[in-house]
Structure formats: structure tokens, C-alpha cells
């Protein structure tokens, strides 16, 4: 390997401080919109005397650790679709290589001015089209008064999601749908190309995820950090291999940007999703102005217009750089403002909750209303041994509650290149029909009327949820996969998906479990979801004449304040149940919540566990929350998951 012999600049205190500051502001923007904080850094380093290639290399080297920290932070908030990030990131690498190659070819053919003109034109065109669209969309949301509403999936994204190209389909949790990777590849490629050209791939990547794939804006901006990490690692290896990385410059910027990225990521938890569009659109339009200012200089260099005086050219370039800095500062100011007002509003809400909370534990979470309905039970069975318990419990449940019962099964359609053959399909349908007939016979023996539904599905879980919606089911009853050891602790993918997507309650039944007849265990953490679970537990207790044990579990990390809140929540719930005429007790124990709920159920001989779920979907394990997942995995009795 030949030594490149690059000269690295001397750093003074002023330069270091400048980079720290720009790094901080850029980090904040990146943490919030997933990208867009780095484009000022290359010219900033160059203005300090760093050769262009060293500035680019050092910028990329600070980007990947920054993106890593940001992605991990936002993954904690459940905003990252890692699978989508990796798929897009890999094609973005190809885009970077091609973009860099194109850049070199242009430089070779038209010199520096030609290259600069190409970069500036790319800036102006992409930012005008995409930035204009993003900003217009944000404005539309604001004007329509839909800032609080859930984001809608656009028509283009709906068409893309409906596109079915066999052998190329992949499920992405952020969109809760399968999308052909043939659609994601060009998006990743364009993101990489833009990153190689203007150092901010996210100006294509984030809007494309939002408008083409239908990813919610907060998730799109968080997922962009995964793409940025992958592109950053690739870029650092490429430039590091040639010896261009000035690690001092990179780490100084990183020092500032890690403060910023944490703040930007925290900010996303307080704002409405459309704010991502506002910040991104505003930055893009201001940067567009910054680049447009210098285009005449490059046109003049290429003799395409009348020559511009050297002083004028210098002035235009300085103004352009200042406007670029302004773009970042304005973006950061919007984020800070949104963060501060979001935090204030949150504090007011908390204060209000405290003010409205009962002073003594006897007052309670209202009158346990609205009353949960239990008129329609949907049993989802796959005919395996894991569905045995669910079938038994669903029939007994319908018998004792007088609810209508429907049993459904789904024939799995294979999604590979060959698809499912006609013969295979017939066989599978016959087998599923047989399962349903067995369930019907079992129900009929107990005097229960039952309807059966057989569906074909590529994702049975989605079909279960769809039928539950169509039929207005009040509760879905299903089994739990997993046999022993570690596998037992893991909830099956279908069960997890059903709980994630269903709007109604989901009763997960281990294969050997039977109908409850002794005691209900209500797990609570004082949240809104727990309160809803309390309402349902109370209704079950009254309907089946069972006592309820309210359990709050405190972990070693909980401080005294949190413990007091836990005790109070359990006591409040107990009092509320008691007022409704339910025999209730409250207990607070120490330990891991997932394990302790299951253990306590065994100790108190509780044969039904009721707990709340945040109701989020997607994101792998975060789908259920680790506590719900552990409880379902370890419980030996049915677990009723109540959505708030």
C-alpha cells in the first residue's frame, strides 16, 4: 500500500470550538430528522484549511459512530425498523460507489468547476423538488388541522404496498406490510448516490421511505440513522484505506455531535410526527437557496456566462456558506422550540394527573367503565397441539359467558418462487377443514353453537386480525408456540403479531391450560394500559365470581418515588375493584416483572392473568413489551392481553 502523504492541519482553540459547535447543532438535526446535520461540516473543515478529501473523509468517519448512537437511542423509543435500514443501507453502499465514480468522471471531463456545478445542480434540483414536496405536505397537515391525527399512507405508498412480485417480497415492521425489495433497491441506491454527491443521503432516503414506502415519518427519520451508519462504515473504510481520515477532526466533531444527537432523539418523543417534515423541508429549502447563490460562480468558471469578478465570487461563496449554516441553526432552533414546548406540555399533563389523583388510596380509577364486552369470541387454531388449550378454553369460555363463538383456521400460502401448488393447497385446505370440524364437534358436545371460517393467507396472523375486525370480535383466543427451555420463553411470531395488530383483547392459552376457576391475577404498573386491564379484570371477576390479586412488581432500578407510585397504583386498583364488589387484594413484590408475575400466579394459584399492553405494533420484541412477552412465555395459565 502506498503512503498518500496527506498533510493534516494544525488545530487551534478557535477551530476546535467552531467544530464542536457545528457538530452539536448538526448532531441535533441528525438526531431529529435522521440526516442533514453533516453537509456543513465538510466546507467548515475546508474553511479551516483541511484539504477537501480529508474534510470529506473525516466527516464520514464522525458520521457512523454518531449515527450508531442515534440509532440505538431511537431504537429504545421503538422508532427504528432495523430490517428496512439494513436492506436500504446495503443498496445505498452501491449507490455511494456509483455516485463517487460519477463524480470522478465529471471532474476528469470538466474539471473542478464542472464537478462543483454538478454538485450544486444536484443540490438545487433534489432540494427544490423533494424539499418543496415535504414542506408542502407539512403545511397541508397543519392547515387541515391534522397535526394530532395519525399519519395516512399516501396513494403511491398504497400502490407500492399492493405490488406483489413473487420471490422478492419482504415484511417490514414499520409499515406492517410486505414490500418488494425491487422497490427498496432504487431508494437505497438513490440515497447512496445523493450521499456521495451532497453528503446528505437522507434528503432522498427519508422522504422516499415516507411517501413511497409509507413508513411513518418518525420511523423513517430514525431508520435513516441505520442507513447512515452502514454508509458511514463503508465510507470510512474506503477513505481510511487511502489514509485520508484525520481522526482528530472526526472525533472533535463527534464530541459535539453526540450531545446534539441525544437531544434531537429525545426531541422526537415530544413532537407530533409532522414536525419531522417541517424541520426537513425548511432545512432543504434554505440549503437550496445557499447552493443557488453560488451556481453563477461555477457557470462563470465554465465560461457558460459572462465572467464574474474574483471578489464577487468570493463574496457569493461566503454568503452561500453563511446561509448553509443558517439552515442548520434554523432547523436546530425549531427542534429546540418543539422540545421545550413539548416538555412543558408534558409537565403540565403530569401535574394535572397528580392534581386529579386521589389523595387517599380509596378513591379509584373511575367507575371501571366503559364496560368491556365479551359477546363474541374468535378462536384461532392451527390444529396443532399448541392450539389444544386454546380450543378447550374458548369453548368453556363461550359456555360460561354465553358469548357467540367462531373458530377460524388459515391455510398458509407459500410465498416462494413456486408458490403453493394446487394439489398442496387442496390437501392443506382439507386438513384445516378437518381441524375445524373437530373443534365444531367438541363444541357441539358441550351444547355450544359455533361457526367456522377457513381462510387462505400468506400471513395467518393478519387474517385472524382481519376476521376479528370484520366480525367485531371482543376477544381472540389463541395458543402459544414454544416447547421448552429457551423456546418456551419466546412467544410465537403469529401470537405476537396478533396481539400487536388486534384492536380487541387477546387471550393467549398454553397448550395444557384449562378454563379459570380460582383466581385472577392482575399485573399493574399504574399506566393507562393497566387501568384498562383492571376494568376487564373486574368484569371477569364479577362474571365468573372470582377473587382478584393485584400485583405490582418493582425492579432493582426503581427508586423510592417509583416504588411509592407502584404501591399506590396497586392499592388504587384494589380499592376500585373492592368498590365494585370484587374480593381483591394488592401485593407489591421485588424482582423482574416478567418472571415475578408468572411466579406469583403459581404461588397464589391464579389461573388467569390479565395485563395491559401498550398496543404498539411491529419492532420485533418491542411489539409486546418485554414484560408482557415474558409473562406470556412463562405463564402456565391463560394470559389475557388488554389493549388500551
Amino acid at each position: 500500500m502506498e503512503a498518500v502523504g496527506i498533510s493534516f492541519i494544525h488545530l487551534d482553540a478557535g477551530g476546535v470550538l467552531f467544530l464542536l459547535l457545528v457538530g452539536f447543532v448538526g448532531g441535533m438535526v441528525s438526531g431529529f430528522i435522521g440526516s442533514g446535520g453533516a453537509f456543513v461540516l465538510t466546507p467548515a473543515m475546508m474553511s479551516m484549511g483541511a484539504p477537501g478529501i480529508v474534510a470529506v473523509a473525516s466527516n464520514i468517519c464522525h458520521k457512523f459512530p454518531k449515527a450508531l448512537v442515534g440509532a440505538m437511542k431511537r431504537a429504545k423509543y421503538g422508532q427504528v425498523d432495523i430490517r428496512l435500514g439494513i436492506v436500504l443501507g446495503v443498496s445505498a453502499e452501491a449507490g455511494i460507489l456509483y455516485g463517487a465514480h460519477l463524480q470522478e468522471s465529471i471532474k476528469e471531463a470538466f474539471g473542478n468547476a464542472g464537478s462543483n456545478l454538478y454538485v450544486s445542480t444536484a443540490f438545487v434540483v433534489v432540494l427544490a423538488v423533494v424539499g418543496g414536496y415535504v414542506l408542502r405536505d407539512a403545511w397541508r397537515v397543519y392547515r387541515a388541522g391534522e397535526t394530532q391525527a395519525e399519519e395516512k399512507v399516501g396513494k403511491l405508498a398504497q400502490r407500492v404496498q399492493a405490488l406483489e412480485i413473487p420471490g422478492t417480497m419482504m415484511y417490514f415492521p414499520s409499515i406492517k406490510a410486505r414490500i418488494s425489495v425491487l422497490v427498496t433497491i432504487p431508494i437505497g441506491f438513490a440515497t447512496g448516490m445523493l450521499a456521495a454527491t451532497i453528503a446528505v443521503g437522507g434528503f432522498i432516503g427519508v422522504p422516499a421511505m415516507m411517501y413511497v414506502l409509507g413508513v411513518p415519518s418518525l420511523m423513517a427519520s430514525a431508520t435513516e440513522l441505520v442507513i447512515a451508519f452502514i454508509m458511514g462504515v463503508g465510507g470510512t473504510i474506503k477513505y481510511g484505506w487511502s489514509g485520508y481520515v484525520d481522526i482528530r477532526l472526526a472525533m472533535i466533531i463527534l464530541a459535539g455531535s453526540l450531545f446534539g444527537i441525544q437531544l434531537g432523539a429525545i426531541g422526537t418523543t415530544y413532537v407530533k410526527p409532522y414536525m419531522v417534515k417541517v424541520v426537513m423541508g425548511v432545512i432543504m429549502i434554505i440549503v437550496l437557496a445557499s447552493r443557488a447563490i453560488v451556481i453563477p460562480v461555477y457557470l462563470s468558471d465554465l465560461a457558460l456566462i459572462a465572467p464574474i469578478a474574483a471578489d464577487t465570487a468570493k463574496l457569493l461563496q461566503s454568503v452561500s456558506f453563511a446561509v448553509m449554516l443558517a439552515a442548520l441553526v434554523v432547523g436546530a432552533a425549531i427542534i429546540l422550540r418543539a422540545l421545550i414546548s413539548g416538555m412543558r406540555a408534558h409537565r403540565r399533563e403530569l401535574a394535572l394527573e397528580v392534581a386529579l389523583a386521589p389523595v387517599v388510596p380509596v378513591a379509584a380509577p373511575s367507575h371501571l367503565s366503559p364496560l368491556p364486552r365479551m359477546d363474541r369470541i374468535l378462536l384461532a387454531t392451527d390444529g396443532s397441539e399448541f392450539s389444544d388449550g386454546a380450543t378447550t378454553v374458548a369453548i368453556d369460555f363461550a359456555q360460561k359467558s354465553g358469548a357467540q363463538l367462531t373458530a377460524m383456521s388459515a391455510v398458509l400460502l407459500e410465498t416462494g418462487d413456486q408458490g403453493t401448488g394446487a394439489d398442496e393447497l387442496k390437501q392443506a385446505e382439507a386438513a384445516a377443514e378437518k381441524v375445524l370440524q373437530e373443534v365444531k364437534a367438541k363444541a357441539t358436545r358441550k351444547g355450544i353453537e359455533i361457526s367456522t371460517v377457513l381462510r387462505e393467507a400468506m400471513r395467518p396472523a393478519k387474517e385472524v386480525v382481519r376476521l376479528a375486525d370484520d366480525w367485531h370480535a371482543d376477544v381472540i383466543v389463541m395458543g402459544r408456540r414454544g416447547k421448552r427451555g429457551l423456546a418456551r420463553l419466546m412467544v410465537g411470531e403469529s401470537t405476537r403479531e396478533v396481539i400487536g395488530y388486534a384492536d380487541c383483547k387477546v387471550l393467549v392459552v398454553p397448550k395444557a391450560a384449562t378454563m379459570w376457576s380460582r383466581r385472577i391475577l392482575l399485573g399493574t404498573d399504574g399506566s393507562r394500559h393497566s387501568e384498562m386491564a383492571g376494568v376487564v379484570a373486574g368484569e371477569f371477576a364479577k362474571r365468573f365470581g372470582l377473587p382478584v390479586s393485584v400485583l405490582a412488581v418493582m425492579g432493582p432500578k426503581h427508586d423510592e418515588k417509583r416504588r411509592a407510585e407502584g404501591r399506590e397504583a396497586a392499592e388504587r386498583m384494589r380499592a376500585a375493584l373492592a368498590r365494585d364488589g370484587v374480593d381483591a387484594e394488592a401485593t407489591v413484590v421485588e424482582g423482574d416483572p416478567g418472571t415475578e408475575v408468572a411466579r406469583f400466579a403459581q404461588q397464589r394459584v391464579a389461573d388467569l392473568i390479565v395485563m395491559g399492553s401498550h398496543g404498539r405494533t411491529g419492532f420485533g420484541r418491542l411489539l409486546l413489551g418485554s414484560v408482557s412477552e415474558k409473562v406470556i412465555g412463562q405463564a402456565t395459565c391463560p394470559v389475557l392481553v388488554v389493549k388500551a
Binding site: V4, P65, G240, W241, A250, A255, Q262, D559
Partner: protein, 74 residues
């Protein structure tokens, strides 16, 4: 109260380690730049430095905002 002390301890510990790593980086800057400037497999040095500092400094900055009460909305 105990938790706050624990948070402060964590903040100071990660801050100190990060400061030490930065001090080492600048104490040996000439030597490091000489090696990394040669290119080739020496690219692992900036990568390793970046990963290490992203961990220590990343934890420090997270604790920093946390300590100031600027936390994510739960």
C-alpha cells in the same frame, strides 16, 4: 436520592474515561496521524477509536441530558 447519586457517579465515570481517551488521542496525535495517514489496514485505527469513543462519550452524553432532567417522554 440514592439514584441521583448513582446517576452522578455514572456521569462522572464515563466523562472521566472519555476525557482521558481524548487526552490520549491528542497526546499522541502526531504518531496516530503518521500511522493512519499511511492508509491500508491502518484504517482499523480510526474505526476502533470512533467505536470506542462512541460508546464512552455516547453513554456520557446520554447521562448528561438525563442528569439535567431532559429525558424522553415515556
Amino acid at each position: 436520592m440514592a439514584n441521583r447519586a448513582l446517576d452522578a457517579g455514572r456521569l462522572v465515570a464515563y466523562g472521566a474515561v472519555t476525557a482521558l481517551l481524548y487526552a490520549l488521542l491528542f497526546a499522541f496525535e502526531d504518531r496516530i496521524l503518521e500511522v493512519t495517514g499511511k492508509g491500508g489496514w491502518s484504517f482499523v485505527i480510526p474505526m476502533a477509536i470512533a467505536f470506542t469513543l462512541s460508546y464512552t462519550h455516547g453513554t456520557f452524553t446520554a447521562s448528561f441530558w438525563d442528569f439535567l432532567g431532559i429525558k424522553a417522554k415515556r
